[in-house]
């Protein structure tokens, strides 16, 4: 391969060194042209550029070429890994034990973890060494993942701000932070967790990755708070609780349904209330003010029951127009909807709105009890006013389309199939920031959940790229159910649950209410990521019966393994103290709420049921599918259970912007000799849609549809089918390029009828698609953005999902 840089008369010592590194690092990457990367890097240099700076320019140059060939992602990641390692060594992190010692000296690492590592230094150091011939841990990262780890997860020296750990040190530090005891077994457990993370087979949520092993190990993702009581002191106490939880990187779900509505009488002053909006406005400012350890602003979602008389003002809180004093740009909003409302929408009758001051009982009731209390309150004339149910429903749909916010979550479905609501008065009052957690709360208990996600793509039996020229054809030959390595999945779940449960004990709780709740219920939320990768590998359309069957099997298997592990833990360490107050104690497990469910592993369910009856459970809840935005990008897979949003898109985070191209599509196009500049342009002009790519057969066009092109009914059906095997819920985004009230109202009514407990964002695309006049006339080499492309660039500036939750 000739390279332009070698002919450059100005190629000096750093330039030569760079070219050598590039050539070495791409020896096994046949599609990579190191000369091209070198030339681009050298173009960006300035007087005084040293080797380190050239290498860092080369990282960006390689990253810019990922859209041409995914192999450039490997090269960029390798260069970046060297950059990180050099920086860490410069700070004294010459090995894992040294990295921990530096962190401890600088006041970052907790004493317990530091002592544990010091005692087992040799064993632990050996874990991060790569035996000859094996893939090193760092070489498993794609560029996106590694850049994310570097910019946000690695511990930095408090003064120099340089990293004091490498990515492998970081993962092992996370594992050591969760060690219990000091025996050989403790080290073996740590090694197993590290092995899973290092192979990207399982990752705990971001708060655990951020904080495990540190002096303030706040490792929980989610906190759910009941509504403040309808009094000033309680409202202000909640602000303080939320600020403390936010400070340590927790995401907040908060009900506001107990606070009296605008116009209600305040007896103490004989005045009239201004309703919830001014208080939410204060919450908005408070959430923005509390900076999560400098990493990002706090984030919260406020839940309001649909009968609250301030519901219409609530719907306007995120509008970009109107009086700023009545807007809350930092808060997310969700509806906590009783079935009775949806029934009235269907029947096209009126809906009554109340002030909680007049009907304080409604907040704590659900199901038939709620229905009875609600109609009784109507009959006794307590309503503030009433409006046609469909008018309100249409406004809810409009807000979703305009802001993506105002999530539809269903109070009765959430409470009915909930392990924690066995006793009367135990009520789930809201979900969390990402609508996947459903736990009971009250004034003295703030619900907490620790999360982690299994990378499904890493549990396929064959991990190599599927050979599409295989005459048998992978999708036809293999029963999708045989494609998963079920035993290995069981093992991963066992380790994951063991360590999620341990977080409950080791966690630093920012408020006593959170500590009180978690000690009793010990809920955890194990989820998944990379479902789309699995379906691509197996050539299963997202809306095919095969996909639904496989996705449901995965959910069933994970639930089985998780519950079995919780039984094991209960036998060893004892059941959680509130076990007697759960439905499980009454012999009722989550799938029992869905009588139509036919188990695939029926015998194992019978065994499990018998075991639960004797040992009880260590955890009241075990499963929740979180959005996994950040950890999925670390693992290099598609988010949670979500279909791909585009075959080509830019991911932008605090670390800068990265380009991502669907590697499965690229492999298929390469196999057909169709991966070239014209195809890339076609993909780009089509906004990441593969539907118009020439030479792509119909079955692959169907496989590579995006979330915008798949019927949303299929997403809802998949979600409904896995629901029996999710004891909490799932962050289910729905996608509609051009929403109308008619389409949205049909879609959400369907979601409700299918029994979904929660939905998450409605994602739509920007209004304008400007004629692409300039690009058509421009020379092919000029790739400066045209108006249409620019419109696309902004088109998914959408809260993909929540990092507190993963």
């Amino acid at each position: 391969m000739t390279n332009p840089a070698s002919a450059d008369p100005e190629l000096d010592e750093p330039g030569t060194a760079l070219l050598r590194v590039l050539t070495d690092s791409s020896a096994d990457l046949p599609e990579v042209d190191p000369g091209r990367v070198a030339a681009a890097a050298l173009r960006g240099r300035h007087p005084g550029s040293d080797f380190a700076e050239l290498r860092s320019l080369a990282v960006e140059a390689a990253a810019a070429l990922i859209a041409e060939d995914p192999q450039y992602s490997r090269l960029a990641a390798r260069l970046l890994a060297r950059e990180i390692a050099d920086e860490a060594v410069g700070e004294g992190a010459v090995c894992f034990a040294a990295s921990i010692a530096v962190g401890h000296r600088e006041g970052l690492i907790g004493d317990g973890t530091a002592a544990f590592v010091a005692r087992h230094a040799d064993l632990l150091d050996a874990l991060v060494e790569t035996p000859a011939g094996e893939l090193s841990g760092d070489d498993r990262f794609e560029y996106f993942g590694l850049r994310t780890v570097q910019s946000r997860y690695l511990l930095r020296h408090p003064v120099t701000r340089r990293v004091i750990e490498t990515p492998q040190h970081f993962l092992l530090r996370v594992a050591c932070g969760l060690a219990v005891g000091d025996s050989a077994e403790s080290v073996a457990e740590v090694a197993e967790l590290y092995r899973l993370m290092s192979r990207l087979e399982y990752l705990p949520s971001s708060p655990t990755l951020f904080n495990s092993g540190t002096r303030h190990p706040q490792m929980s993702s989610c906190y759910l708070l009941d509504s403040p009581l309808d009094e000033l002191d309680s409202i202000y106490q909640r602000y303080a609780q939320i600020a403390r939880l936010s400070k340590h990187a927790g995401g907040i779900g908060l009900s506001y349904s107990r606070i009296r509505s605008r116009g209600s009488l305040i007896r103490g002053t004989n005045g009239r209330s201004n309703g919830i909006v001014p208080f939410l406005r204060t919450l908005d400012s408070s959430v923005a003010a509390v900076n999560q350890g400098g990493r990002r602003k706090g984030a919260a979602c406020v839940y309001l029951e649909t009968w609250h008389a301030d519901i219409e003002e609530f719907l306007e809180l995120r509008d970009s127009t109107g009086e700023e004093a009545r807007r809350t740009h930092n808060l997310n909003l969700a509806h906590w909807i009783p079935d009775e409302f949806m029934r009235r929408v269907e029947a096209d009758t009126d809906w009554s709105l109340f002030s909680p001051a007049d009907v304080p009982e409604l907040v704590d009731l659900w199901g038939a009890d709620f229905d009875a209390a609600y109609t009784k309150a109507e009959r006794s004339g307590k309503a503030v006013r009433s409006i046609p149910a469909r008018t309100l429903y249409a406004r809810m749909m409009r807000t979703l389309a305009q802001t993506g916010n105002g999530w539809m979550t269903f109070k009765d479905a959430a409470n009915r199939a909930a392990n924690q609501t066995a006793l009367p008065g135990r009520t789930i009052h809201s979900s969390n920031l990402c609508t996947e957690i459903l736990e009971v709360t009250d004034d003295s208990e703030t619900a907490v959940c620790n999360l982690g996600s299994v990378n499904l793509a890493a549990h396929l039996r064959s991990t190599g790229p599927l050979d599409s020229s295989d005459p048998a054809g992978p999708a036809d030959a293999i029963d999708p159910a045989d494609a998963i390595d079920w035993e290995r999945l069981d093992a991963t779940v066992r380790t994951a649950v063991t360590f999620l449960d341990r977080v409950v004990d080791i966690n630093y709780y920012p408020t006593p209410e959170a500590a009180a709740s978690n000690a009793r219920w010990r809920p955890v939320g194990l989820g998944v990521m990379g479902l789309q990768d699995v379906l691509f590998r197996l050539r299963l359309d997202f809306d095919s019966p095969g996909a639904r069957r496989l996705s449901t099997l995965i959910a069933e298997r994970i639930m089985l393994a998780a519950y079995e592990t919780s039984c094991d833990l209960a036998a060893r360490l004892g059941r959680h103290t509130a076990y007697g107050e759960t439905r499980a104690a009454l012999g009722q497990l989550h799938p029992d709420h869905f009588p139509a469910t036919a188990h695939h592993w029926a015998d194992r369910w019978n065994d499990l049921r018998a075991r639960v009856a004797t040992t009880g459970l260590r955890n009241s809840l075990l499963l929740a599918i979180a959005p996994t935005a950040t950890i999925a990008s670390i693992a290099g897979v598609y988010e949670c259970i979500e279909p791909q949003v585009s075959n080509l898109f830019k991911r932008e985070t605090l670390s800068g912007e990265f380009l991502q191209v669907n590697p499965y599509l690229v492999a298929d196009l390469k196999a057909r000799g169709r991966w070239n500049a014209a195809t890339r342009d076609a993909l780009r002009e089509a906004g990441g849609s593969a539907q118009e790519i020439p030479g792509l057969p119909a079955d692959l066009r169907s496989l590579y549809r995006t979330a915008w092109e798949i019927p949303q009914r299929a997403l809802i059906d998949l979600a409904a089918a896995r629901m029996p095997y999710l004891d909490q819920s799932q962050s289910l985004n729905l996608f509609m390029a051009s929403p109308t009230i008619g389409k949205l109202s049909s879609m959400y009514a369907y979601a409700w009828k299918q029994g979904l407990k929660t939905t998450y964002y409605l994602r739509s695309r920007p209004a304008t698609r400007i004629a692409q006049a300039a690009a058509a006339a421009a020379p092919a080499t000029a790739a400066v953005p045209t108006p249409e492309e620019q419109a696309l660039a902004c088109s998914l500036e959408n809260p993909e999902s929540c990092e507190a939750c993963q």
């Binding site: 970009s320 985070t653 800068g656 780009r684 389409k743 920007p766 300039a774 000029a782 902004c794």
Partner: protein, 337 residues
């Protein structure tokens, strides 16, 4: 009672919207409304922390850039009111221009907010607004703009062929050179910062400004197309030469701005790369007008390529912007979804 104008540039104040003569302009007006955004939606929170991380060279670049932004949109708005609105005689086009004027006002407000946030010292703020007078590299660009504004200032109605040609040159100057080149140059610096993980608030607002400016430029070019269709002899070879020369001057003006901003060069950004980029953009503008490429340069900035692709944003970091403002229809249970 006046007779309806036959051509877009015929003098007068046409009021008739039905039948509509230029429905395309009306559609553009409606589309623009769907992209409404407000400055309050832009979160500049992380920018302030980033400012402390900048090197001296980067800080210099940013200061100049903000100073240019502070006055650039005002100049465009002035020309819109003083020239374009006056002479483009179609009520539907004037609807669009009214909307554009609002957008320019939002841009001015955005960059004012930015300046107030970035420059805590009142004297520095005042100096930024004096940039048009005091900073040579910005003064040069402003002079370029004023030259083309002055060229039509004395025309009260487009009566003669010469009037109309002067007007067209003014229109093309603002679309191709000012919105289409000066702003595109400025956007490149912003995205260069962002490509290095810096100044996300600035980049978010700029995304929206970019989207708006692209539409403005596209509208102006579509006015040019309409006029050329109606009066084919106006845009002759001589005008082609004039436009090419004008773009050359604009590239030069922007380049001496680049020299001031980049100095000896910063990591990933220097005058040479900027020259290539500007030449590539200028060629695109010429191509849009059906003129031959002047430079034949390719785009050197990988981070500008990234502008072409959809993005996902983590909601902890940035605010939603992409949602549709206008949603229609009524409640139904059997729509396809």
């Amino acid at each position: 009672m006046t007779t309806a104008p036959k051509q877009l540039l015929d003098p007068g104040f046409e009021l008739t919207l039905r039948p509509m003569r230029y429905p395309d302009f009306y559609d553009r007006y409606r589309d623009a409304i769907k992209n409404t955004w407000t400055v309050e939606e832009v979160d500049l929170h992380s920018d302030v922390a980033d400012l402390a991380k900048l090197s001296e060279g980067e800080r210099h670049l940013l200061g100049r850039l903000v100073a240019f932004f502070a006055t650039g949109d005002s100049i465009v708005a002035n020309n819109l009111v003083l020239t374009l609105y006056k002479h483009i005689n179609s009520p539907e086009a004037r609807l669009y221009l009214s909307r554009q004027l609002f957008e320019e006002a939002v841009h001015v407000q955005f960059y004012l907010t930015l300046l107030d946030t970035y420059l805590p010292d009142p004297d520095d703020r005042a100096a930024a607004f004096d940039a048009v007078e005091n900073i040579p590299s910005i003064r040069e660009k402003a002079r370029f703009c004023f030259r083309w504004m002055d060229s039509v200032e004395t025309i009260d109605a487009l009566r003669t062929r010469e009037d109309r040609r002067r007007f067209l040159l003014n229109l093309i100057c603002f679309a191709a050179c000012i919105e289409g080149l000066f702003f595109y140059g400025a956007f490149a610096y912003v995205y260069w910062f962002r490509s290095r993980g810096l100044l996300h608030g600035l980049a978010t607002g700029t995304n929206w400004v970019f989207r708006d400016e692209s539409m403005h430029m596209d509208f102006a070019f579509s006015v040019v197309d309409t006029v050329r269709a109606e009066e084919p002899d106006l845009f002759d070879e001589e005008m082609g030469r004039q436009v090419t020369a004008m773009l050359e001057q604009a590239v030069e003006a922007e380049l001496q701005f680049a020299r001031d901003l980049c100095g000896d060069g910063l990591p990933g950004m220097n005058t040479d790369s900027m020259r290539q980029y500007l030449e590539c953009v200028a060629d695109q503008r010429l191509a849009r007008l059906g003129l031959p490429a002047r430079y034949g340069s390719g785009n050197p900035f990988g981070f500008m390529e990234l502008q072409n692709v959809q993005e996902l944003t983590n909601f902890f970091e940035r605010r939603v912007s992409a949602y549709q403002v206008a949603v229609e229809g009524s409640v139904s249970f059997d729509d396809d979804f």
